[in-house]
């Protein structure tokens, strides 16, 4: 088990290295113009461009440029030249809002999706299932920015049930923290609820035909015990995989739209503003930050997977 975890973490390092090279190539090498001018930002004077070139070692060979950029990103020395702010500090400042948004939304979408998916599968073909199917399709089809705008317009502006966004730190007031985050949580969760509940429904319907479910019924377990302990339990394995991927993606940048519309000063909003100003250093760092989270959660899920499916631990194939 420990060896499995160590191997997985080593693999993660390799993937991160590959991503960092690609990020470097995309930002510094592929665009056919002076990287120093682009990193310096819009309307930069020649002196600033020269300073950027010196800071980032842009007059040296590509491997040295790569190492310099990575050293700056990972030691937190990367600065945004146009706003004169330290990028790592800004990301660090944005983390509480982003994590509050993402963790809350993730808990919400998992809970609701499992509930909906379970109900759908148990009542397959009947009214509840059909209603939930339509609801899921609607949820998957709604664009986040549109849904966010509609929620804000009707529930914050027209009815004034909820505040119009902005983040209140958890340490300041847990109640207001949650109150301010309810709409963003719902917005971010809707898409995933739709998607996950559909996947869980079909997993459960497949699992219901498994021989071990028949065995469980033959043992004399109640329908509910059979469904929860055998059908649902075994159907959760692919869901957890999906969750690892999606949660990493949401933390690492998927929440840009939600944070922007609700004006939550998290990492996503920071990235969004950097895009607006064509400010490259924050984008480099946020891209690496996002990649890091996606890869990290994937590794965590793989390790968790081994707990969910004992066959993985011996290196056997995943369940079909």
């Amino acid at each position: 088990m420990l060896r499995f975890a160590v191997r997985r973490l080593a693999g993660m390092t390799v993937v991160l290295f590959a991503i960092s090279v690609i990020v470097f190539l995309i930002f510094n090498v592929i665009p056919n113009s002076d990287p120093a001018a682009r990193i310096a930002g819009k309307n930069a004077n020649p002196a600033l461009i020269a300073r950027v070139r010196a800071d980032m070692g842009l007059d040296q060979s590509l491997p040295v440029q790569y190492l310099t950029m990575m050293r700056r990103i990972f030691t937190g020395q990367l600065t945004s030249y146009s706003s004169n702010q330290n990028v790592a500090e800004q990301i660090w400042k944005g983390l509480p809002a982003t994590l509050s948004l993402c963790i809350g939304a993730a808990l919400l979408w998992m809970a609701v999706a499992v509930w909906f998916g379970y109900l759908s599968a148990v009542r397959a073909g009947r009214f509840t299932d059909r209603a939930l199917t339509i609801l899921a399709l609607v949820g998957i089809s709604l664009p986040v920015f549109w849904l966010a705008a509609i929620l804000l317009y009707f529930l914050s502006y027209k009815v004034q049930l909820f505040p119009t966004g902005s983040y209140v730190p958890l340490s300041e007031s847990p109640v207001r923290w949650a109150y301010h985050l309810i709409l963003p949580w719902v917005t971010l969760a809707v898409l995933y609820v739709g998607f996950y509940s559909r996947v869980l429904r079909s997993n459960m319907l497949d699992a219901m035909n498994e021989d071990y479910v028949r065995t469980a019924r033959a043992k004399g377990l109640s329908d509910r015990q059979v469904r929860l302990r055998h059908v649902l339990r075994n159907s959760m394995i692919p869901i957890v995989t999906l969750f690892g991927l999606d949660f990493g993606a949401v933390v690492g940048g998927g929440a840009i739209l939600t944070e922007t519309v609700f004006n939550l000063n998290g990492v996503g909003l920071y990235a969004g503003q950097a895009i607006g100003k064509l400010d490259l250093p924050p984008l480099m760092a946020v891209t690496m930050f996002g990649a890091f989270f996606i890869v990290l959660f994937n590794a965590i899920v793989d390790i968790l997977y081994a707990f969910l499916d004992p066959r993985i631990r011996l290196g056997e194939s995943a369940p079909v």
Binding site: D211, Y212, T215, A216, A218, L221, I237, D309, L314
Partner: protein, 325 residues
């Protein structure tokens, strides 16, 4: 003596997209205490559906079930789900065909056995697990103390089937339904599992309903045999009578298709020509007529299942035996 289990005119049909499939069409048989009754027939003859219907596992919105399954003075077919559930696993247990897929891969075998125990008795988990160890030992699993904590994939096929049997025996059932318990196993393991079933049958006096298509298994284990064809019983007799004097042409065909060591090696094994009729639209007359070598005029009418000789327990469904007897 009233039989342990008495099945009368059992009919099971499933509504499918193609029409109504009459999987089981009027099956009757008795199982006495301590008796092993084998139900034999080729794939799709309705033997597994019969077995699963005994404990209500085929109940579903698209299934229509009629007839009766009398057990301990109650008709299991009309028993509500929650009452039937108290019998399932506790007094009538079942072992399935494929031990590779019949155990849940994500739970330890001990937990799965304990779950069966705790479904019927309110005992603490630790006590149920101790009982699971004893059960594993009783079905011949070496090192049960350690094995109880293993997952199904850590067992071989034969060992998994032993686990299944241990689980089925957990609550000391009066009836054990074994649905092709040896089909998925290789031959030496088959023999071990059959030995185990025989021991359990004789030592614990468990009645066994054995579903199989393997006449070798029947000869090994069964007291009585029910031969099924296309959803119906075509012959029913004690195992000795069936092997000595098979009456129905289908039974004779089955027995003739057993390869023999003392016969000359021909190029092909003997077989019954043709394939069973569709259960969507079974023929009106004798269902075996299309494959039978001795068809005559009467075969267009459905033959009844009756005793054609002084042996009142030897029944068959053939017009020809009626004529010759």
């Amino acid at each position: 003596m009233t039989p342990m289990l008495s099945v009368r005119d059992l009919r099971v049909s499933f509504a499918t997209d193609d029409g109504v499939v009459r999987a089981v069409d009027g099956v009757s048989f008795d199982v006495d205490t301590g008796e092993v009754v084998a139900i034999v027939g080729e794939s799709g003859c309705g033997k597994s559906v019969t077995a699963q219907t005994l404990i209500g596992l085929t109940r579903s919105p698209n299934a229509t079930i009629s007839g009766s399954v009398m057990f301990d003075g109650r008709d299991l077919n009309t028993l509500p789900d929650n009452e039937l559930r108290t019998l399932r696993g506790a007094r009538i247990a079942m072992v399935f065909q494929d031990p590779m897929t019949s155990l849940n891969p994500v739970y330890r075998v001990g937990d799965q056995i304990a779950e069966a125990i705790r479904a019927h008795r309110s005992v603490p988990k630790a006590q149920a697990l101790r009982h699971a160890v004893e059960l594993l030992e009783s079905v011949g699993i070496p090192n049960p103390q350690r094995r109880v904590r293993d997952y199904p994939h850590e067992f071989s096929g034969g060992m998994r089937q032993r686990v299944m049997i241990a689980m089925a025996l957990a609550l000391e059932p009066e009836v054990l339904i074994a649905d092709e318990p040896t089909t998925a196993l290789d031959v030496t393991i088959q023999a071990q599992i059959l030995d185990l079933l025989r021991t359990l049958n004789s030592e614990r006096d468990v009645s066994v309903v054995l579903i199989t298509h393997d006449l070798g298994v029947v000869a090994e284990l069964a007291n009585r045999v029910v031969v099924m064809y296309a959803g119906q019983v075509v012959e029913q007799a004690s195992v000795d009578a069936l092997f000595a004097q098979p009456r129905h042409p289908y039974t004779r065909g089955l027995l003739a298709s057993i390869p023999r060591l003392d016969s000359p090696r021909s190029d092909r094994l003997p077989q019954i020509p043709g394939s069973p009729p569709s259960l969507l639209t079974p023929p009106d007359g004798c269902r075996f007529a299309a494959r039978c070598g001795s068809v005559f005029a009467d075969c267009v009418k459905p033959p009844p299942l009756v005793a054609h000789s002084r042996d009142a327990t030897h029944l068959d469904r053939c017009w020809a035996t009626g004529v010759s007897a």
